[in-house]
């Protein structure tokens, strides 16, 4: 049965259903038990499953990541939640040196089925240390899965997949996605890793949006439609492994690729996607490609600079328009701030 849920509700539902099904699933992280419930994604879980399976942690990201890894080695399936991905930088040693490598360096003797949920992104002046999207750092490391679903449907299915997967999974949620609504089946289902989704069909240009940028790409697609440009919008959903085939098929059709990341571009997801497409299409002179992402600076706090820091539907549409017109013409749709950005003022 399909219902309309928010992305946050979808995450919560996936968690509840998996915890009900499998007693080895536990949830830990700063604030997972509090009344704000991490944007509602963990609200009420502790009442339902008790303080042994759902617990707040001390402020010890490095140590608690290690605790999750050890618990996973003992057969649990911990979901470790971080309200901001910036804090995961404290846990890089455990994630990269241990979680990603344990199975390999122990010759297959252990599994580390942890899910590291972390929230990225913009909203209400989060500033340089509270808004980073560092998925590229994890894509670089073999042994990690990296998923960044953008719809409630995929949020639920990917989270269930991530919990059941026997490997460490970095599960990435953009704060501006939590309020997005969409159809979500009530039963349990998995969304497989490594399958991209075509969210809108088009013939003139392929827009690949990462995480929240899919929302902005879909808006851009509508703007572009108004000026007669047909954009195809693809959501990779999973960044590692990456489904380059779906992107390639589209690019071969449209001849143009614009990758829009919710992160920095240098050594980023957008550079990887562009590089793979370029490798696979060399010798096809008509293909054009470009990347967009954060400005190459730390994120400023003040609103007027923050607006310039992030790509948005208008800048995406405008860039796509120029690409389609071989940079011979330019156009920008009227700027409308995204409702979710206007509305969000916390809670943090």
């Amino acid at each position: 049965m399909d219902r309309i849920l928010t992305y946050a509700e979808a995450i919560r539902e996936a968690t509840v259903q998996e915890m009900t099904r499998d007693p080895s699933v536990i949830v830990l992280g700063l604030g997972v038990d509090d009344f704000k419930g991490l944007y509602g994604t963990t609200r009420g879980l502790q009442d339902e499953f008790g303080p042994e399976r759902v617990f707040d942690t001390p402020l010890s990201e490095d140590g608690m990541t290690g605790v999750a890894i050890g618990a996973a080695m003992a057969g649990l399936r911990p979901i470790h939640v971080h309200i901001r991905m910036d804090f995961v930088l404290l846990a890089m040693n455990q994630i990269v040196n241990m979680a990603a490598k344990a199975r390999y360096m122990y010759g297959g003797a252990v599994s580390v089925p942890i899910v590291v949920r972390s929230i990225i992104g913009r909203s209400w002046g989060q500033g340089p240390q509270h808004s980073q999207a560092l998925h590229a750092l994890f894509m670089h490391i073999p042994g990690l899965r990296v998923v960044a679903p953008s719809t409630p449907y995929d949020a639920k299915g990917c989270l269930i997949m991530s919990i059941r997967d026997d490997n460490p999974v970095m599960f990435i949620e953009h704060r501006m996605l939590h309020s997005q609504r969409g159809h979500v089946p009530s039963d349990l289902y998995t969304v497989p890793f490594g399958k991209a989704r075509v969210l809108a069909k088009g013939s003139d240009i392929t827009l690949v949006g990462i995480s929240y940028m899919t929302v902005e790409c879909l808006r851009a697609q509508r703007y572009l439609g108004e000026v007669g440009i047909s954009a195809e919008v693809i959501d990779p959903v999973c960044l590692s492994p990456l489904d380059i085939e779906t992107i390639l098929t589209s690019v071969k059709k449209t001849g143009r690729l614009l990758v829009v990341d919710s992160g920095w571009t240098v050594c980023g997801a957008s550079s990887e996607i562009l590089a793979q497409v370029a490798e696979h299409t060399q010798g096809t002179p008509q293909i054009r490609w470009q990347r967009m992402g954060f400005a190459p600076v730390p994120c400023p706090t003040t609103k007027n600079l923050e607006n310039l820091f992030y790509p948005n539907a208008q800048t995406v549409a405008s860039t796509a328009f120029a690409m389609v017109h071989d940079n011979q013409r330019s156009w920008t749709p009227v700027h409308k701030e995204a409702p979710e950005i206007v509305e969000f003022k916390g809670p943090f």
Binding site: L30, G31, D34, F35, K36, D56, T57, P58, L59, S60, E61, D62, G63, D86, F87, L90, W124, G125, Q126, G127, P128, Q129, H130, A295, P296, V297, P298, P300, T301, T302, K303, N304, L305, L308, F309, K345, G346, P347, F348
Partner: protein
């Protein structure tokens, strides 16, 4: 001295009340953490320092910034995101700095400035300067490994630093005893042979006196670090301008003794009405001017997005 302490307390309290009042207008577009109720710690500590001494603080840093002499106008402009702010609007409430006043920065990632303070103190010792450095942090920050790493190194090298734990019993909504097996942060410091004291009652005079003595000793005897665990209480919600005693994680009865023990009221009662009113009047004018300054300042120009990423050591590029 009493009047100085009173002025500092009153000024911080009133600035934050104004921030709380203005917050609902959305002029401040960023998470903001108020220190109302905790001012005595920042004030007691910073008044005991010299202007050339240096402090490092946290995202809950208004009190520390103001107590150490940070520019009020630049602070309010910073909260407003204006180009005249102390960080040109790029930082906001959680990233206050005023190098001239010895406020060397506040950070939004818990625990991150603790080792900076230690490193600064290392530099001071190396340069034979008699600067004392203070590191402010919360009872939550001590759970981060870096706290221990910082104390170990500071103690090992006997650096001129005073660690000040502002223990308000909570990290966001979690009580200290839900995060630590006991409330004994001073004991942690003592295992590094750092002389450590716990001050139970937010007493601004006692904090002032003890920190002054500690700073003097560090300066005169080149002795090593000192540690103070200052018990205090946050009156407002963790982030934002509201009250939150109805949210279930703490009770108003727990807060009552702290309200009753308000250091601002206490000093008020110790000062004559004339002194009090003069100070109040002066402070109100200053605050009004600061908000006016912030209001009338411009947002940073668009080019500012790309400035301040890198600096150039101009003197060397020639070689």
């Amino acid at each position: 001295m009493l009047d100085k302490l009173y002025r500092a307390l009153y000024r911080i309290r009133r600035v934050e009340e104004e921030i709380a009042r203005i917050y609902s207008t959305d002029k401040i577009k960023s998470p903001t953490h108020l220190s109302i109720g905790q001012e005595a710690v920042a004030v007691g500590v910073c008044e005991a320092l010299r202007s050339t001494d240096v402090v490092f603080g946290t995202y809950r840093g208004h009190a520390c910034y103001l107590a150490k002499g940070g520019d009020l106008r630049k602070m309010i402009a910073e909260l407003y995101g204006k180009g005249t702010g102390c960080a040109k609007g790029k930082g906001g409430s959680m990233h206050l700095i005023d190098v001239r006043a010895g406020v060397m920065g506040t950070s939004a990632v818990v625990g991150t400035t603790i080792p900076h303070a230690v490193g600064y103190a290392y530099a001071m010792r190396l340069r034979r300067q008699d600067t004392v450095v203070v590191s402010f942090f919360g009872d939550g920050a001590i759970e981060e490994g870096v706290f221990h790493e910082s104390m170990n190194f500071a103690a090992l090298r006997r650096l001129p630093i005073i660690f000040v734990c502002e223990n308000n019993s909570y990290a966001i909504h979690a009580h200290q005893l839900a995060r630590q097996p006991a409330s004994n942060i001073v004991e942690r410091a003592r295992t590094y042979l750092i002389p450590a004291e716990r001050i139970e009652d937010n007493d601004v005079l006692r904090i002032y006196g003890l920190v002054k003595a500690a700073a003097d000793e560090i300066r005169s005897k080149q002795s090593g670090p000192r540690f103070f665990e200052c018990m205090t209480y946050r009156w407002k919600e963790h982030v934002g301008p509201g009250d939150d005693f109805d949210r279930g994680y703490r009770s108003i009865s727990e807060a009552q003794p702290w309200f009753a023990n308000d250091q601002l009221k206490r000093l008020e009662s110790l000062l004559g009405p004339q002194v009090r009113e003069r100070i109040m009047g002066e402070v109100e004018v200053e605050i009004a001017q600061a908000f006016q300054f912030a209001e009338s300042s411009s947002f940073p120009a668009e080019e500012e997005l790309y400035t301040d990423v890198f600096g150039e050591a101009a003197q060397w590029t020639a070689s």
